[in-house]
């Protein structure tokens, strides 16, 4: 199904949805643009790629898994445990193809024969993505090098492409078709061609893709070469900006909070660049330095994950980790350095 919607109507469409459902959309505030829960009255900001990815929709930064309440009754003391499974539908409007596709990296981990993460699965199954294709790549974009392109509809339910006067909309899934049935969408007319031309141009602007196919093996070769990793991680400050921005990072931490008579089990994003990520109870830390940790982050995305999951690189090429790194660490350069490494001994 192909439709057209004016920008004004898209804002209206989003606002109406937001009145009924949990809508996540890029909103400009405080000088930056982030995905946040859309409240009727807010405007969507399509001018730039949101700083934080839409990962929150399917994998929120924190979610309560369990609530515990203590109380006393006539019959004695009681302990009430409440599982907090997510409820309701969520619609993401304005994600980019990289972000929508990135979430697919989660599935092989959270939905296996042995393990099915009920919290993740519920959210995934109840979330729709209305994605906006990119018309111009940024200097940090490299989705084309990890098997995607600026108009990739994978992982989306609807793909929007900016055209004269509004957006050309194409439904990708049946649920997407249902969305496009809304009266605010008009006949697409000849805009399909205009959109196709835009998409082609965007892909051309990205230029030659880099070939990461040798990365998995080459990174493994460098596994024990801590000198290499120390040099690569010199400027890394070991913060979590890269992992928290990343649409594909799926690591989490579970902590119990208690205060007085209430307790809670909380799941929150974890960050493999942090010292505490692998800190063991004994005090020993197998990844005690930032070099170890950067090796793991890059190795995991370009080598260990592809090894386990059909050569799929666990990176969607959105470039957020590069653009937002306070020290300018560029994951592309780290992988390339491993690929191009020549043993001078």
């Amino acid at each position: 199904m192909e439709r057209f919607i004016t920008e004004a109507n898209l804002q209206q469409f989003a606002a109406t949805l937001a009145g009924k459902k949990h809508v996540l959309a890029p909103v400009a505030s405080g000088g930056t643009t982030c995905f946040r829960r859309l409240v009727p009255g807010m405007r969507l900001d399509f001018s730039r790629m949101a700083v934080i990815s839409p990962k929150d929709a399917t994998f929120p930064r924190n979610e309560t898994l369990l609530l515990v309440q203590r109380y006393v009754e006539e019959s004695g003391k009681k302990l009430e445990l409440k599982e907090q499974l997510p409820e309701g539908e969520c619609i993401v409007i304005g994600s980019r193809p990289c972000g929508a596709r990135g979430k697919l990296i989660f599935d092989p981990v959270y939905e296996t024969e042995a393990i099915k993460d009920p919290y993740y699965l519920r959210r995934r199954d109840n979330t729709l993505f209305i994605t906006l294709s990119c018309d111009r790549p940024e200097s940090t974009c490299f989705c084309h090098s990890v098997g995607s392109n600026p108009a990739d509809g994978t992982g989306s339910d609807v793909l929007l492409t900016a055209v004269e006067g509004g957006f050309f909309a194409r439904a990708i899934t049946p649920k997407g078709e249902e969305l496009l049935a809304d009266a605010l969408f008009e006949e697409a007319g000849t805009r399909a061609e205009e959109a196709a031309a835009k998409q082609t141009k965007a892909r051309e602007l990205m230029g030659q893709a880099h070939d990461f196919s040798s990365a998995a093996a080459k990174l493994l070769e460098r596994f024990d070469d801590m000198g290499f990793w120390q040099a690569q991680s010199n400027k890394c400050i070991s913060c979590g900006a890269c992992t928290y921005m990343c649409p594909t990072c799926y690591c989490f931490n579970i902590t119990d909070d208690e205060a007085g008579l209430v307790s809670r089990r909380l799941r929150s994003w974890d960050n493999c660049m942090s010292h505490t990520f692998t800190l063991e109870g004994s005090g020993h830390n197998p990844r005690g330095t930032k070099a170890h940790r950067l090796k793991n982050r890059v190795g995991h995305k370009f080598s260990y994950y592809p090894d386990l999951h059909a050569s799929q690189i666990a990176c969607c090429g959105c470039g957020r980790c590069i653009k937002q790194c306070p020290a300018g660490v560029d994951i592309r350069q780290v992988v390339m350095a491993a690929q191009e490494y020549v043993d001078e001994r």
């Binding site: 982030c34 934080i52 111009r136 653009k323 300018g328």
Partner: protein, 318 residues
């Protein structure tokens, strides 16, 4: 000889005796610089000291404990070094300071606001004496440096390094005293507005700790109480209150120690104006203790000492 060449020559003379010299080079695009760790001649060739070179090399100083390193420092960076020396966190004989008399660095946020489109689309940058000529999606835009100067530079009282082994450039005679209108305007707001501002701003924080890890004075390294379970100061909950709690920890631990290099605010991926908090606390420290961190050697941070009679702390009676 240009300042850059002068600096390169100076560094070249020290390279053999140092583990590395920390400077800057061009980053992932012409608009962004990145720290450079100079170990050999080819590294040295990439050195850049343009106003885009913003990172504080002092951030890395404690990470090289026991090794002897060099650092290219601007005025504010030298303050960080002095404070680290005062707190005996680094040793003077282990650092060689290549000082740059600094005319200010840019704020990427201001550049972003000044450009007609996202700076992600930058193609080329030409750095003039007082302007940046930026080619963006095929179009050239000129921005005056003065307009995109970082806030910390607009009010900088110490553009010239306060401590350096080699000094490059011309010392500044005097600096125009400026105040930051937006800082003052914010401070003057009623409590309710400030409260709401932080509530909303903190809801954006993802607690990536970039502000902490980039801070040259955050020397707890991997043992920050915000991330520890013992002691357990904070929940992992990513809520405004917990995020703000972390900022309070940061402010509290920086009381009398912050050298106003502005790295926390620069590093924040979601543009939280942390310097509002820093500058306000520093002002209080200045008022009560007459202390400015990192402006002179051998000063103890005010919270690590006391006076029996505190001249400027009034007892509030009941």
């Amino acid at each position: 000889m240009s300042q850059l060449e002068e600096l390169k020559a100076a560094i070249r003379g020290h390279l053999d005796s140092l583990d590395c010299v920390i400077g800057w080079e061009q980053g992932y695009d012409p608009l962004h610089a990145t720290p450079l760790f100079i170990r050999n001649e080819s590294d040295l060739e990439r050195l850049s000291i343009s106003p885009l070179a913003v990172h504080n090399p002092a951030t890395y100083a404690t990470g090289f404990a026991g090794k002897k390193i060099g650092m290219v420092v601007r005025g504010c960076h030298s303050r960080s070094i002095i404070e680290l020396l005062n707190e005996k966190l680094i040793e003077r004989e282990n650092v060689v300071l290549f000082g740059l008399c600094c005319d200010g660095v840019v704020s990427q946020r201001k550049i972003r606001t000044a450009l007609p489109a996202d700076p992600g689309f930058v193609e080329a940058v030409e750095i003039g004496d007082d302007a940046l000529h930026i080619t963006l999606a095929g179009e050239k835009t000129t921005i005056k440096l003065q307009d995109v100067l970082a806030d910390k530079c607009r009010i900088c009282a110490y553009p010239d390094p306060l401590l350096a082994d080699v000094l490059i450039g011309n010392k500044h005679d005097s600096r125009p005293e400026e105040t930051l209108a937006c800082q003052e305007a914010f401070e003057a707001k009623p409590n309710a507005e400030k409260f709401t501002f932080w509530q909303d701003t903190m809801s954006r924080c993802i607690r990536c700790y970039a502000c902490r890890n980039v801070c040259p004075m955050c020397v707890c390294q991997d043992y920050c109480i915000a991330a520890s379970r013992d002691p357990l100061w904070m929940s992992q909950e990513n809520s405004p209150a917990e995020n703000f709690m972390f900022q309070m920890i940061h402010v509290s631990h920086l009381t009398g120690r912050c050298t106003e290099c502005g790295e926390c605010e620069r590093a924040c991926p979601v543009d939280i104006p942390l310097m509002l908090l820093r500058r306000y606390m520093n002002k209080q420290v200045q008022e009560v203790f007459g202390h400015q961190a990192g402006t002179s050697l051998d000063k103890t941070p005010p919270l690590l000492t006391f006076q029996v009679e505190e001249a400027r702390i009034k007892e509030r009676d009941w």
